[in-house]
Assembly symmetry: C2
Homo-oligomer: 463 residues x 2
Amino acid sequence: MAATELDPVLKAVDAGLDGALARLFDFLRIPSISTDPAHASACRSAADWVAGELEALGFTAVVHPTAGHPVVVARTDTGASRRVLFYGHYDVQPVDPLNLWETPPFEPRLGTTPDGRRTIVGRGACDDKGQVLTFLEALRAFRSTRGALPVDVTVLLEGEEECGSPNLPGFLAAHAGELSADLALVCDTGMWDQRTPSITSSLRGILHTELTIEGADRDLHSGLFGGAARNPIHVLATILADAHDADGRVTLPGFYDDVREPPAEVRARWQALGLTAEAFLKPVGLSVSAGESDRLVIEQIQSRPTFEVNGMFGGYTGAGTKTIIPARATAKISFRLVADQDPAKLRAGFETFVAARVPADCRAVFHWGEGARAFLVPPESPDLGHAAGALEAEWGVAPVTIGSGGSIPVVGQFKDRLGVDTLLIGFALDDDRVHSPNEKYDLTSFHKGTRSWVRILDALSHA
Amino acid sequence: MAATELDPVLKAVDAGLDGALARLFDFLRIPSISTDPAHASACRSAADWVAGELEALGFTAVVHPTAGHPVVVARTDTGASRRVLFYGHYDVQPVDPLNLWETPPFEPRLGTTPDGRRTIVGRGACDDKGQVLTFLEALRAFRSTRGALPVDVTVLLEGEEECGSPNLPGFLAAHAGELSADLALVCDTGMWDQRTPSITSSLRGILHTELTIEGADRDLHSGLFGGAARNPIHVLATILADAHDADGRVTLPGFYDDVREPPAEVRARWQALGLTAEAFLKPVGLSVSAGESDRLVIEQIQSRPTFEVNGMFGGYTGAGTKTIIPARATAKISFRLVADQDPAKLRAGFETFVAARVPADCRAVFHWGEGARAFLVPPESPDLGHAAGALEAEWGVAPVTIGSGGSIPVVGQFKDRLGVDTLLIGFALDDDRVHSPNEKYDLTSFHKGTRSWVRILDALSHA
């Protein structure tokens, strides 16, 4: 469709902004904190609310109960040549500490940043209610101007994203047929900066384990046994210390075997971004990269695998002192996987590495999670190109196509269970205070995000 | 005094055993659990009870209130040529888990071990009420046969030993003059084995610190920052791993500078004991020594200093997983000091060691405890010889004079504040289940322990 043919739809977005904001405020007033059982009925209300909105847009919407909070599935069936599956979530993070909020978290309001940007303030304004509505409002603009959408759409909204999506994998397995689509779209990520849109086209995989080193059959008196009895904290510390060398490389056997080097043009693009470790780390109070010393920081956080200790505990951890040699010590460890790394192979490599460092009278006990491989939209994917073109048309700047260092399991599940690739496109900004008090979403993100989806859906319909 | 002159006193002990047991049972019925505020009045009752017993033995006894539980001080002033200061405690450990007790912990009873030894069962039977009464019953035997004690005695009994003696150092400082003596005696330690008595003539010192490594100014998302941001758990693990070499030696600079080699005859005695690491560690489920590979296990636990991590925590320690790089990680560390090691020097050495391993954008924060030097009764001390002779006369076997790897701060405080050396002589056995359900004290420990004190007090009076 020529740009001019899309103009009425975009104009409908512009003209309808006040109505869209009113709807977002209604959505934001529902305190759908999924992790708190006291808010279960609010989660149900949020599911019902969004299902009602989808029905009003001509969708057939069903609120599916689960063992936790409901899953909303809504679809159009117009026989369009293509179908997209849109995923988002209607639940939000808890709001504590409440005293740090300038206004009540579930009384949304418009605000202004110190540098003059207008914002929508409230829990969920960005994550993910505001981002979900950018997509729904784009659909509304098509309906109101043309009476039809350019593609068929399945909307999948869950209510447990903020508490680990425990019921989603089972739901996807049980409803795989109903959810089949040509492409999945997720609006839960951010812009590169205030002016530059971004498409997240790769995600690192993830693998968790909890490693416990067991020594004596009880905590020992460190006066009576200290000097002779093995201390499991010492054993665990040695394992963790040995896992990286002085150059920041992970030393586990075979760890880098299935890691691929990025294509030269990708690396050139990264280099051109000019992101230094100091600039990247400064906002969190750090300055020196801990990663592989011969890699760009953007590689370290996107295309390179990691070994990270997320938590560790052993022995006495209360106030004051207790002179014991503990019976055991535990580390919660996660790996970020890239490219072709296989969770099963990493698991075997780490177990071998640990076994070589456990004294004869101690034991290593592992509790492994399932693990998820890395995910990558092939750079030559036509849909990636369509979406990129649409975003450039809206923002006047080519989007940065980046990998994310994070792991979004639903994307891997879409690939594994539904056989569908995902484009992650979102309009969050770094200063949105997601998960924190005074969460906000820029009015520009909301408005131009909606316009972006109009252009993207149009572009995808021509694929 | 010739052995025959002591016979009436020893006979009085034998004849009075039933009465002594009845008194011990009265003492054991008082649930003086010092750590539990609900038992404060029981602690007061125990202090009153023992002060009453001492008054009945001709002492002037005072129950001194403190910010916690009272301190009992009782003394005789007969103008004897020597004065001993006897220290013990009237408080006991908590009794949970209560369901593992065969009979109620504060209803003392006589029992029998599987190998036929008669025992006194109840909380405090050994630690320390039974041991304290061995000394008091020895005094009673002197009083009943001679009307006088062979030495003047000051008895100091505290009620907070099981909760860290928070008020004792201040009490000692405030009452130093009143507590002056020629020698201190403590009955809170054990026999070498069922037949062999023991004198603990050295204790390791102790130094505590809590070390926190601080990295980013908040917990970071390990997907977004993993690979670039420094993980304080990794930094701390490296510090802890580096603190020992592969041979079990502590690598801190200057750590062994002020450690002394034991005299050849002490080492010969140790070697003759034939204690293997496997035999020493087997009861706690271990088999391989973690200590310096060129040292006897008895050296490792007594005459060598240690670096031990008593507890460690950082990041997420709840159930399941949380993909963070924590902002900080903490280790609770203690050193056991020997010989001339100076807490201040160790402190400086460790701070230097840590500083060399903290990246430029992280910080190391220490919280140091006060520290206590090691304590040693000189092997040539005449009182040590007197006590050893007395014990050999009672048991028919020369006592093993050993160092203890533990640290009993009161002994250091006696040395520092009162200028007095301490002999630690006790009759506990390894199977007494001190601090555990079904605590017991062998009837033989109680009876021959009392007889031992008769002989020791007599021997000390001739010094």
